[in-house]
């Protein structure tokens, strides 16, 4: 388990904003939802495994989520694997009872919108592009394969598992990498580090590692 691939618990727990109430849920009407809330309800990517492999659970949440039939992984940092089975479309099916980590998570894009440094329309365009890339990847993967599993696929054609893409396997891998790169650039927090760490060849401007 990689702590960097986990929703942090409580990193914004002292902040109570309208977003914290509306995030991913169905609370409130469209008219009163903040721009950030609307962004979340049209996205849902943080629940899909596209941004993280798993989400953290507080100790007192473990039994609650087991009772819901969810897989819970114990250990030093209890968590559940993503995608979350409670995700319904782009909304949370257990919104009122969602884990603390989910309720308080803000992706980098949302943080930017809330801070006023990212234009909401630009943010929405990035969400739509990420969703497009995600759907494209899903259409190439075997049914039931998750994004964390896809990210762990071998990259070489020589090691290609049977049943994924055939001779087009490298294109499947490339689509997964492209989606992951897009997520790193726009959705992952800089302090979490990127999911892709390959070398970026640059000229003329500084660049963060993939």
């Amino acid at each position: 388990m990689n702590g960097h691939d986990c929703f942090p618990i409580g990193f914004l727990s002292v902040i109570k904003s309208p977003m914290a109430e509306a995030h991913h849920g169905t609370a409130s009407s469209d008219a009163t939802m903040s721009v950030g809330s609307q962004l979340c309800t049209q996205c849902g990517l943080c629940c899909t495994g596209v941004i993280h492999d798993h989400a953290a659970l507080k100790p007192d949440e473990i039994e609650v989520f087991r009772a819901l039939g969810m897989e819970v992984r114990l250990g030093e940092k209890p968590n559940f694997p993503l995608p979350c089975p409670q995700l319904k479309g782009t909304s949370c099916g257990i919104y009122r009872d969602r884990p603390h980590a989910c309720a308080h998570y803000r992706c980098e894009l949302l943080r930017g919108v809330e801070a006023g440094t990212v234009d909401p329309a630009d943010a929405l365009a990035k969400v739509r592009e990420a969703l497009r890339l995600y759907q494209s990847v899903l259409s190439l993967l075997p049914a039931g394969m998750t994004m964390p599993q896809a990210r762990a696929l071998p990259r070489s054609l020589k090691e290609a598992p049977s049943g994924i893409g055939g001779p087009g396997y490298p294109l499947v891998v490339l689509q997964v990498l492209a989606l992951t790169r897009y997520i790193d650039r726009h959705f992952r927090h800089s302090d979490e580090g990127p999911l892709l760490r390959e070398e970026v060849l640059t000229m003329g401007e500084p660049e963060t590692p993939l």
């Binding site: 020589k158 990498l177 492209a178 070398e199 060849l201 640059t202 000229m203 003329g204 401007e205």
Partner: protein
């Protein structure tokens, strides 16, 4: 002359590209300017052709462009993505 030493699969992500070598699975990202050089190398080109192309495309001094292009080409050759063949005298 510089030329590509390998065929890579490419995915465009805005103004940058992500590449994959399907044989060994190696992945590289190219930022916008490096991507421009890589695209230009679809056909063999010498250093001056590459440099002039960049100067025409970006607001950069000839001196800075030369310095940074030298470094990029060194890296591309080191990584086995580009080969350099001296032009016969």
């Amino acid at each position: 002359m510089y030329e590509r030493a390998i065929e890579l699969l490419e995915a465009e992500l805005g103004d940058e590209i992500l590449t994959l070598d399907p044989q060994d699975g190696q992945c590289f990202g190219f930022n916008a300017v490096a991507a421009s050089v890589w695209r230009r190398l679809a056909q063999p080109a010498d250093f001056d052709q590459l440099r002039q192309s960049l100067i025409g495309e970006y607001d950069v001094s000839a001196e800075q462009c030369t310095e940074e292009l030298h470094e990029l080409m060194r890296v591309l050759v080191d990584r086995g993505l580009v080969r350099y063949a001296p032009t016969p005298a």
